[in-house]
Structures are given as structure tokens and as C-alpha cells.
Symmetry: C2
């Protein structure tokens, strides 16, 4: 592929040759090559099966076609698209919106938005926050997109119940055009509700878990509705997927990333920082946080052994967090791998006028652009990390666009799938969220959880000494 | 104090009695009591001196008075307040705005905002993001608040240069009413520029570093401009400060927090998660991230020994990140202290209507409120963490308001000051950010950095093997 249009990975500064003793010994990484090749083989062999259904999404046209059909039916005259979803039902959509829509999209006039609706991804249930949004929108000009594979996600279904009543109260019984459900194609509570109510539906395909669903209708429908170039997004993902068909980790950027994170993990590195130098990519780091944390954060390996595995993802933003996190990153413990995402070109560059010529410390800025300063600071951070002996790698993206974002999604998904194999864990389940869900069900009085409720209510109060 | 109006700390579940072997042995914490008392004494002894000038802010009326004066002069007819600042010049302001303004503040009409301006805190220099904001606002109805103690912060001064030209081009030479500078009261480049140009100024008082500046004019001026009840904010901080005058860590919630984080650090815990169950407090976690990372992330102790200290802050948001980070928190490595912030009361509660009575898994929600669900999930997460053997503590806040936010600011600032003493490091400098700044200056051609530039440009290119 041409290096002008695709993302590139530079791993030179993860090695001890560049950053000293806390870097990776390149020979130790080489020793992982067979394990990496085996991880690759396992993922290749499972493509499209079991919970690897998401590997088929980049080449499928179904999500786009179905999303277009549904939006054509419900989108006419719609001013606001409200997404009810949480976790994997929200993070990809937010990331696509902040990366690819105008930075002020929700503040622009309908005309300036090219007729696209505003988009509100409501991935929390804070009642004041939800009420403020529902007060703001006009239900007659709103589509509520309800995203829950099971149809029993408590947060999402609660939001939907509130919105449904609002629609009924304001629009009367004929509100079905204002709700679209993205859910299991065959069963589940939301599927049944949609059938009973006559809502349009979109499928979450088999083998696509929430955190791997951004290129399914979960992410594609809101992207279509807001005018994102979804074909190019998918093409970017497909191109990266193609780069990942190679078992040689030195040719496969996702496999190399997985091997590096794994090898550093063996050296005690337990934090992976995603550090994009781009305001538009700020939510990519949040999307990645879920992907990494839920996929690799596991108690048990497949063989049943207790491993308590999983690097903790950290989000930082360039240049903003140079004034917040970089002090720690350059001087604190050697417990991090930092992945810098560098953007080569912005749409504009914003020239810095030459004024205050006599004022040293300000005057040198004149004649440059804001894009120059962004690039210089990104390079400066890399120098500081290198001098501090901190292992990091750099993902260079030509610019933030749909193709690049598709590549970034597929790169991280493949890296995490390989990472699961290297740890010999199931990267596609999330057993650790059940305990909290069950306790919440019990406290909310859901049927079948009566015993747990009694147990929770009978717990001993803390000692007064521990209450300040 | 009454427990109904103040924040409370419950530390019962950081101990091994509650969470098992990865919790703190209460005796080990007791053994820290003398060190904690000494840390307290050191902070008490240094109050108001050196870099502890910020301890005086809660009781000072100066920031409020001066901010009111300045806003009275410049605020008339102003629709947008644009804050140019980064790090400590931005994070506190953002936190105050998201915590205390209406959740849709920037989308409301001027009337619904009570005449207050919209507020835009531009703490990055991504040119596309900056351009989008500058296109959006009307310079004739905008005040640009430029916040830089030194007046040489490259990002902030660059933004200011662009805005100044915009003002000059659009309004002619009479633009000085549209710029307010918050900077060193005595010297610095921005002080000089403000004097030359006739801009209003506000002081960053002596002994107040950026990350401890939220209760100085840095945070108070934008709060005043947007109609925040700043007196109550300061009163909350003063009340917490008063609770921190006690050397007994079992009576001082900030000292106990510092001792717990320190003791867990000795057990290998290197991550501190701030997990507010409140959309309004989401940016408090970001503000805290800077405070912790820059203050405690240090290479050297005061005695010159190399320590590479500092827990890494992580931000999570309840309930949102239950669907992103909780899997890792309950099953992954035992490397975290989690501080849950629980909110007892929201302004509204949003009832969940009883529909779909026959659909198990949905029907139990009916008759509850969204606030009930929020509370049940917060409790559920605590149950899951406890069952997973994960040490955590809980900060309960009666509701999110100005008083509580003031308490939260002072609590964290004092905890971090004590934490610096416990580590015997300087919590108020940030030497690790210099290397990156110097490299950026060199690449931007600033005078005096020619040699460094030559050095940087002469660096060897990475091996082709390391470029994918």
C-alpha cells in the first residue's frame, strides 16, 4: 500500500536500543514470534465463526444497505437523533461522530449540517442529564435509536421507557416512526417489543459483541443518518484487515502491537496509554479503553488457571495532556506503554500572525501555523519520552478521515484478538460484569433476585471508625 | 458538621477484613499514623508560604471581588466567553462549568441561561477544532479570557495571537474590551502585553501553581461570568479545609485518603481510579487526573534519591463505564484503588412508566425512577468490587452543588499535598515537562534553542524493520 494514504506504525522506540533498560529487548520480542504466529493462526482459523463474526463486517454491505433503508423511512424532517445505548452500543458511535462530523456539528444550523440531524449519544442515566436532553429536543422531530443486543440492558431500556411515554404523551399513539431498535436479529425482549409496536429494526449480527460492533448497524446506522461516508469507513477497515492476514509480526501492524504489549506486560508494564494528537480522535481513545479493558481484563485463562490478566487502558490527549499527564509519563514508574497517534495533516492550519515582535518567548510563534505547533509538540513529547527511557510507539495517520478511522478500528480489534490468544484467554466474554448487574437487579426488585436482595440488605454496617 | 450537607468518606472496604488479601491490613495503616501526622504538620507549617499559597484561597474574597469588577466592565452584551488556557488553566474551569451549569448550557437561549454567556474552554490547539469555534462565535459579542501565569505558554499565546488578529480585523483597533488576561500579578510577557494593549487583568496569586488554581481568578472569573455561586463554592472549600486542620488521620478525610493511597502503593497498587456516579462530575475526574499525575509523578525525592514515584490516575464514569472498565476492575490485576463518588440526590428523578408488564427483564423497571437505577447500579458495583476482593472507598455527596464541589476540590488538593509529604517529594513542581517543551521550542525556531534543533534534526532514522 502507499504510505501516503494509510496508517503507519513505528515501533523503533519500544526497544532498549532506543530507550534503555525499560525498553524491550528486541531478541525477547523475536522469541515471541512463534507465539504471535500461533495467535495469528488461531484468529485466522476462527474468522467469521463463534464470537469472531465481527471480522466479516468490513466486507459486508448489509449494515449500510439496511441502515440506508431504515433512515429513508424514518429520517424525513428529523432534527435530532438520540442514541440510547451504553458501552459498545455508544462508544463507537460517539467516536465516529467526533472524528468525522464537523467539530461544532450539534451547534450548526440544519443547512450547515447538510440536512443531517444533530446527534446525542446518551450513554449514562444521570437523571438530570437525561432530563436536560429530553427537554431540549422536540419529540416530533426526533428519532430515538435504542441499541441493546439482549433488549434487557437496564440503562437503555429505562431510557427507552421514558422516551416512549414522552412520545405517546406528545404525539399520541402514532409514534412508531420515532423509534428504531438495533438488537438481536432473532430473539430478545427488544425484538419482541419492536414487533408489537411496529418499530423499524436493525440487526446486531451473530458473533458481534458490543465492543466489536462499531462496523455493524450499531455504529453504521447513526453514521448513515449523520451523513458519514460509511463505505470509505468500511473500506479502510477492510484494507487494515487485509494487512493483518500475514502471520509474520514484522509485517502485521496489529500483531506486532499485540506482541509488544504482551512482552512489556511480562516486564511489569500494566498500563497502556492511547495518546492521540488530535481533538477529533479524542473519543477513539475511549472506544479503545473499553475494547482493551473488557477483552483482556480477565480472571481466568481458557485452561481454568487464575491469571488476573489485563493491562489498564489510559486515555490522554495531545497536546492537552502534556499539561496534565506527561510529567508522570516521563518521570514516574516504568509501568506504561504509550501509543502516540500523530496526524500529518489537518484540514486547515491557522497561521499565527507576527505581532509583539519585541517580546521574546512570544515572537517566535509568528509566521508558523497552529498545525506546526501541534506537530512540534508531538515531536517534543516523543523526544521527552525517549530521553526519559519510556517505551512508546507511534501510529502516524495521514489525516483524520473515514478511511483512516476504519483502519484504526480494525487495527485495534485485531490487536486485541491477538492479545487474547497470547494470554490464552477468551477476549470476547465479560463474566466480571455479572455480579454488579445481579446486585442492581436485586436492589431494583427484579423477579428471581429476592434472595440476593435479602442478603445485600442484611450486610453489616461499616464500623463508625471507617466513616468520616 | 452535619452529615446531611457535607461530603462523607467511607473507607471500610479498603481493608483486608472486608476485601481479603489484596486489601490493606488495618494495622499496617495504623503504623502510618505517625508519618501521616508528620505530613499534616509539614503542610500546616507551610500554609500560605512557598507553593502553598493556594491554601489561602478558600477564605480570600479577592478573586471574587476582582472577577466581578472585571466582568462588570467587559461582560455587557457578551454572548460567548472563550477561555484560552491549558492544563491547570482549563481543567478546573471545565469542571466547574459541567458540574454547576445546566447540562445543556451552551445550547440554551440567552434568556434560559439567565443572561450568562456560553462558555468554551479551548484547551487544545488542534487547528480544525479551534477554527470551528472561532467561526462559530461573533467576536463583537465575545470575551477571550487568556490564562497563562508566565505569559509564554505556547498553546495559549498562539490561540491569543489568532484571536487578536480576528478581533482587529473585525472590530478595528478598539478591541481591548474583548480580552481579559489572567496572569502573574507582577511580571511576565502577558502582563506586559496587557499593559501595552489596555486589557483588563486578573492575578494568579503567588504560591498558586496551575493545578491548584481553580479557586483563584483562574477558575473564579469564568465561574462569575457564567453565574456560578462562587461564594458557596469557596465556603465549601473552606469547610473542607477546616476539616483538614486535624492531625489524626481518622478524623481528617484528606489525610486518610493520602495514607490509604500511600499504603496501597507500598503493596504494588499503581493506579488510582476516580469513579463518580454523576454525569455532572465527569470532569472532576479529569481535573483530579492532572492534580495527581503532575504532583506525585516524580523522578526524585527531596533528598535527591531516584524514586520514580507516582500512581497513575484513571478516570471512569458511573454508570457508563460499568460497560467498559468494570470487567477489568473486578477480574484483572490487583493494581488499583478505586474511589467511588456516590450522589445521594439529583435535581429530578425521572419516573420509569410501567409498560410492557408481561415482559420479564423489562417490567421490573416500571414504578422506579432513573435515580433509583443509578443508585442501585452504584451499590451493585460496590458489591461486585467487594466480592472481587478489590479495595475501594466511597465518597458520598448529598448532591452536586457549589458547596460540595468546593469540598471536593479542597479534599483532593489537601490529599495530594499530604501525599507529597508521605513520598518526601515536591508536589508543586513539574520538571518532567521541560524536555518536551524545549524540543518543541527548538523545532519552532525559538531563539536560544538552535543547538538543540541541530541535535534533534541529526537524529538517526529508525530501522526500516521497525516501520510498518
Amino acid at each position: 500500500m502507499s504510505h501516503d494514504t494509510t496508517i503507519r506504525l513505528d515501533v523503533s522506540r519500544v526497544f532498549s536500543d532506543a530507550v534503555g533498560e525499560h525498553g524491550l529487548d528486541e531478541k525477547a520480542l523475536e522469541a515471541l514470534a512463534p507465539a504471535a504466529a500461533a495467535a495469528h493462526e488461531a484468529v485466522e482459523g476462527a474468522r467469521g465463526t463463534g464470537m469472531l463474526g465481527w471480522t466479516e463486517l468490513p466486507k459486508s454491505t448489509e449494515a449500510v444497505e439496511r441502515s440506508r433503508e431504515v433512515w429513508a423511512k424514518v429520517g424525513d424532517g428529523i432534527e435530532d437523533l438520540v442514541v440510547f445505548g451504553i458501552g459498545g452500543s455508544a462508544l463507537g458511535t460517539t467516536c465516529v461522530a467526533t472524528a468525522l462530523l464537523h467539530p461544532m456539528h450539534n451547534h450548526l444550523s440544519r443547512e450547515a449540517r447538510g440536512g443531517a440531524p444533530r446527534i446525542w449519544v446518551l450513554d449514562n442515566i444521570d437523571p438530570d442529564w437525561i432530563a436536560a436532553h429530553l427537554d431540549f429536543i422536540d419529540p416530533a422531530k426526533t428519532v430515538f435509536s435504542v441499541v441493546s443486543k439482549s433488549g434487557t440492558t437496564a440503562e437503555t431500556m429505562s431510557q427507552f421507557l421514558i422516551a416512549r411515554k414522552m412520545l405517546e404523551d406528545r404525539l399520541g399513539p402514532d409514534y412508531s416512526r420515532h423509534v428504531v431498535c438495533t438488537t438481536d436479529p432473532e430473539g430478545g425482549k427488544l425484538r419482541k417489543i419492536a414487533a408489537d409496536e411496529g418499530f423499524e429494526t436493525l440487526p446486531v449480527p451473530q458473533g458481534v459483541g458490543g465492543r466489536f460492533s462499531v462496523l455493524s448497524p450499531v455504529g453504521i446506522f447513526p453514521a448513515v443518518a449523520t451523513g458519514v461516508d460509511v463505505e470509505t469507513l468500511l473500506a479502510g477497515a477492510a484494507a487494515m484487515d487485509e494487512r493483518c492476514r500475514v502471520a509474520d509480526m514484522w509485517k502485521n501492524p496489529a500483531l506486532l502491537q499485540a506482541a509488544i504489549l504482551h512482552a512489556l506486560g511480562a516486564m511489569g508494564v500494566n498500563i497502556h496509554v492511547m495518546l492521540p494528537y488530535s481533538q477529533a480522535l479524542r473519543d477513539y481513545a475511549d472506544w479503545y479503553k473499553q475494547l482493551l479493558a473488557e477483552s483482556l481484563g480477565k480472571r481466568s485463562a481458557r485452561d481454568g488457571s487464575v491469571v488476573h490478566a489485563g493491562p489498564t487502558p489510559a486515555k490522554a490527549l495531545g497536546v492537552t495532556d502534556q499539561h496534565s499527564q506527561i510529567q508522570l509519563y516521563t518521570e514516574g514508574p516504568f509501568d506504561k506503554l504509550i501509543t502516540v497517534i500523530e496526524v500529518e495533516k489537518f484540514s486547515g492550519s491557522l497561521p499565527l500572525p507576527s505581532v509583539y515582535e519585541g517580546i521574546e518567548g512570544v515572537s517566535y510563534l509568528g509566521g508558523h501555523t497552529l498545525a506546526d505547533l501541534m506537530a512540534a509538540e508531538c515531536a517534543g513529547t516523543q523526544v521527552a519520552l525517549e530521553q526519559g527511557g519510556r517505551p512508546f510507539n507511534v501510529l502516524t495517520v495521514p489525516e483524520v478521515n473515514a478511511r483512516v478511522l476504519g483502519e484504526l478500528f480494525a487495527w485495534a480489534e485485531m490487536a486485541i484478538a491477538y492479545g487474547g490468544e497470547l494470554l490464552n484467554i477468551d477476549a470476547f466474554d465479560q463474566p466480571g460484569v455479572e455480579a454488579g448487574k445481579r446486585a442492581a437487579y436485586a436492589l431494583m426488585g427484579r423477579k428471581g433476585f429476592e434472595e440476593l436482595r435479602a442478603e445485600l440488605e442484611g450486610r453489616a454496617a461499616p464500623s463508625p471508625k471507617h466513616l468520616l
